[in-house]
């Protein structure tokens, strides 16, 4: 086992599974929103799609666990953290711009606040296994 491979073993197994669940959930949610009601809240739904892409990238990069993919994962998770903090704060400040929820609205309230905890754990885990 190379050092980089440690990323996907041990506690990383659970972390990547949770990332996978969010990749699936965010992709499905964005797909349905954009396909059926895009004009209702275009900004929110585009952000849903962006979140979906980031979760998918983080999941695959963490699961691949090579030196290069770990860097991809770090960038994706950093963007995810900025995204959830920015959208979270913004959705409280200007609720009118978010008539419908994204994964990151209200710091991921609709998902048990896991979206705001997940990137922190992700970055900690990448640091731990470097």
């Amino acid at each position: 086992m190379t050092d980089a491979e440690a990323t996907r073993h041990g506690p990383g197994r659970i972390l990547i599974l949770v990332y996978g669940i969010f990749a699936l959930a965010a992709t499905a949610r964005a797909g349905v929103q954009i396909a059926t009601q895009f004009s209702d809240a275009p900004i929110a739904y585009v952000l849903s799609a962006v979140a979906a892409v980031i979760y998918c990238a983080a999941t695959f990069a963490l699961a691949k666990a090579t030196r290069v993919s770990r860097r991809v994962a770090t960038v994706a998770i950093a963007v995810e953290l900025v995204g959830v903090l920015a959208i979270g704060a913004f959705s409280y400040a200007v609720p009118d711009d978010f008539p419908d929820a994204t994964v990151w609205s209200h710091f991921g309230q609709g998902y048990g606040f896991v979206p705001v905890v997940l990137p922190v754990l992700g970055l900690l885990w990448l640091g731990r296994t470097s």
Partner: protein
């Protein structure tokens, strides 16, 4: 929605989750017993999909079809992928990951129930 099936799926997947946590706590890998239970859950989820779609077509109430079917289909993917992911891990963390996958099923079933009764 056939409610007894929903609650049976919630109970069975929570039982499987506890089983997986016990395996992880005892430093064991996942075994055929827990996979068998999840196989039963998966058959139940498939039945839920069929029942759900039939009832969705027949109902006159305003149920959000795309979300409802999305949750029904999505629920089928979680356990097989979770089980494969858990099996590929040689340590107790595989069982831990499977426990998390098990927890997703009750969450999805409750959301389905919510969407259906909304």
């Amino acid at each position: 929605m056939f409610e007894p099936l929903t609650w049976a799926l919630v109970a069975l997947s929570l039982a499987a989750m506890v089983f997986a946590i016990v395996l992880a706590a005892r430093d064991k890998r996942i075994n055929w017993t827990v996979l068998g239970v999840l196989g039963v859950v998966e058959v139940g989820l498939l039945a839920q999909l069929v029942i759900g779609i039939v009832q969705l077509v027949q109902t006159s109430r305003d149920v959000s079809g795309p979300f409802f079917v999305g949750y029904l289909v999505g629920s089928l993917i979680v356990l097989p992928l979770g089980a494969l992911w858990a099996l590929a891990e040689g340590s107790r963390w595989g069982a831990g990951a499977l426990a998390v996958a098990c927890l997703v099923i009750p969450v999805l079933e409750l959301r389905l129930h919510e969407i259906w009764t909304a």
